[in-house]
Symmetry: C2
Subunit: 181 residues, 2 copies
């Protein structure tokens, strides 16, 4: 898995072959086939376990500040060579087997699971509207960063992160929409 991630970062998805991974890892390629029967299986498992896939969100009690920290980490990840390669590797898996889809679903759940828990606490504390879906809010605020990093190529600066959060109704002033007691 380490060899796969290194090759992914250095050469992108197209640079990954069972031969290259076997060479880099010092094993025979049949050993790799045994555990990861397809290239998407291998790549996604490597992403999940080795590419700092999980992005954390602090819990300072100030939601806007914590989301900014989180978004800056997402931005660093999606603009880094490794992060970019990993995401393009996911993007390339266009014709997916059910197995690959399951792996990808696990990847995205794992990636933002901790942050979603943080947002759920914020919602339960009244910092977000009661009906907020944490995963949806995360998806809507990370999507523009992925769009810029991978598709449109526009820069991602702090002003953009602030604008994105503001458009989603998250502002520096804590929004206590209802008191807990």
């Amino acid at each position: 898995l380490g060899a796969t991630v290194e090759l992914l970062a250095a050469h992108g998805y197209d640079g990954i072959s069972y031969e290259a991974v076997a060479d880099a890892a010092g094993v025979h390629k049949t050993s790799i086939y045994r555990w990861w029967p397809t290239k998407p299986d291998l790549v996604l498992d490597a992403m999940l376990t080795r590419a700092e896939a999980v992005i954390e969100m602090p819990d300072s009690g100030r939601l806007h500040a914590d989301l900014l920290v989180f978004l800056r980490e997402v931005a660093d990840n999606v603009t880094s060579p490794l992060g970019r390669a990993v995401l393009l590797a996911t993007a390339r898996a266009g014709s997916d087997t059910p197995e690959t889809e399951a792996v990808r679903r696990r990847f995205w759940e794992a990636r933002f699971e901790r942050a979603a828990e943080r947002l759920a606490r914020a919602r339960d504390a009244g910092e977000l509207p009661a009906g907020t879906d944490p995963m949806l809010l995360l998806e809507l605020c990370v999507s523009p960063l992925h769009f810029r990093a991978l598709i449109s190529g526009q820069p991602i600066d702090d002003a953009f992160l602030h604008e994105t959060l503001a458009a989603l109704g998250v502002t520096p002033r804590a929004r206590r929409v209802r008191s807990r007691r």
Copy 2:
């Protein structure tokens, strides 16, 4: 350009070579090099002129309904084989020359220019807050569709379009934040 788009749709970015385009178009490849000195130049110009790149937004006077029509067209585009191939082709151009960057910038401006004009009118009519940046609002509402279609692989249904618009403050009830007279 037509041959390039056809090859792009059939085989993706990796399937595009000057040889293949020259064969399909019935010209010599030096003729192609003369006009498009690099592959990104060729692919992006083809995208811009031949791949139904420009996505229109109707102007019924009901902003939420018009944005839904627009987002459905974006969703159809990004989930179609051609649209997907075109966007992955853009995404692949990781190491860009200034020329390529300029082409890409033109592509994204042209793609949503008409829709941005529609939103500017909505803003001037008071249907959107006075400070709304039309291009930013469009970017924030199309990004989650690109994220799902190209990266996370989750389905894009009407419920998701509604949720996205609602999170960005666009609801079926016209938001007249200020009267014009």
